[in-house]
Subunit: 235 residues, 2 copies
């Protein structure tokens, strides 16, 4: 396993209508890394409100951000509003040039795709958006966490915890990652077996798909536009 | 399973030096309940900073809070600073009189204990504080989630997700809870098996205990004081 010496600079983008746990899961893991500094990033230091109403305040503006070792890109409904946002896409592109890892959580993968980071890269995302990965040139991998060179991606929401523990081990070794896991008492026992479309009952999958239909359609239209602009002619 | 009709009022206390995931885990689950309102509570509406630096802004002061159906009490290092805080202990006591559930996450159980809610109640907490439950009159149960009448408790940090899914099923039925689980893609795959003191290696447990030694000693001294004040003579 690779280890970095010296203080690690880690950052996560937060934004309006994000899904807070896409960010707070990785924050919980990576903010515990020894000799590291975690930056909570947005265009400005103004508070943002997540899709269910949680108010989170960034501590570093894009302009103030140092080159990061790890950039975390969360998702959630608000991701769709940023798919044409040049401030955000350029920030991701610029950080990606020097970062050791770019870590997309949930539909944060679509933002990384719009920034051009997923061409020829194995990646995953939230199950409801998985069929869109190809539009960005990604090689879809239906797994909870996918690591392909610089890019690490996790599937939906809570998968950011698993991905962040893997990245913690890449950065500081397994021993440190395991100690963080113990401190977080991360030995999950979901009371139901309904966490993926293959284990949930068909009626529950249908209800969840139906509740997400509008945002999924909008994401699909955006993915087609990006594919066209990137010159992926098969779409 | 019991179900409640009408809008649910759910709230969580946030406070300085808390562990943010003790709160953001349950928030992610319970804020998705249909026909519900989630209140992020503190003495005032001023932002609080969690133990690793995340800035969270409450949306409701204690004085503004309605009677809640569910009160979530998180933990983390900052919990110890509140063990003599009458504003906080009284708020918990008053809400507990009318709430359907009080849900302690991690060392939030010690706060509930100081508020007198755990006398004769089966409960759990973070593994590093588990030996302190008896001082508050609780009946310690070494499980990830414990439900005993009004009181639901979870073990450390990430266990709040599991406990919140159970409470979601109590409130709105298993079908709703399972749909929330699917939307959060909660099918965890921890990359290591190091989430509890029984599965982690002895050297990792020792390192984690050692890192928490100071806060554990302070919690122990406080637990003795509370036991004395409550008249539990066996301590």
């Amino acid at each position: 396993m690779e280890r970095l010496n010296g203080q690690l600079k880690i950052g996560a983008i937060v934004f309006p209508q994000m899904d807070q746990m896409d960010f707070t899961g990785p924050f919980e893991v990576l903010s515990r890394l020894p000799d590291s500094k975690f930056h909570v990033l947005w265009k400005r230091r103004d508070p943002v409100t997540d899709v269910h109403g949680l108010i989170i305040t960034p501590d570093t503006s894009f302009a103030e951000s140092p080159q990061l070792d790890v950039l975390v890109v969360p998702g959630g409904q608000g991701q769709e509003l940023l798919m044409k946002d040049n401030d955000v896409l350029q920030f991701i592109q610029e950080q990606a040039r020097g970062a050791r890892y770019v870590f997309s959580v949930c539909t944060g993968a679509l933002l990384c795709g719009a920034a051009g980071l997923l061409r020829g890269v194995k990646a995953t995302t939230h199950w409801s958006a998985f069929h869109l990965l190809g539009y960005f040139g990604a090689i879809p991998r239906n797994r909870r966490v996918v690591a392909d060179g610089q890019h690490v991606s996790s599937s939906g929401v809570t998968a950011g915890i698993d991905g962040a523990l893997l990245i913690a081990s890449f950065l500081r070794g397994e021993r440190v990652a395991k100690q963080i896991q113990l401190a977080m008492e991360y030995a999950p026992e979901p009371p139901f077996n309904s966490g993926t479309p293959t284990t949930a009952s068909p009626e529950i999958v249908e209800a969840a798909r139906s509740a997400m239909q509008e945002i999924t359609s909008r994401r699909h239209a955006t993915a087609r536009r990006v594919a066209f602009e990137m010159g992926f002619s098969r779409f």
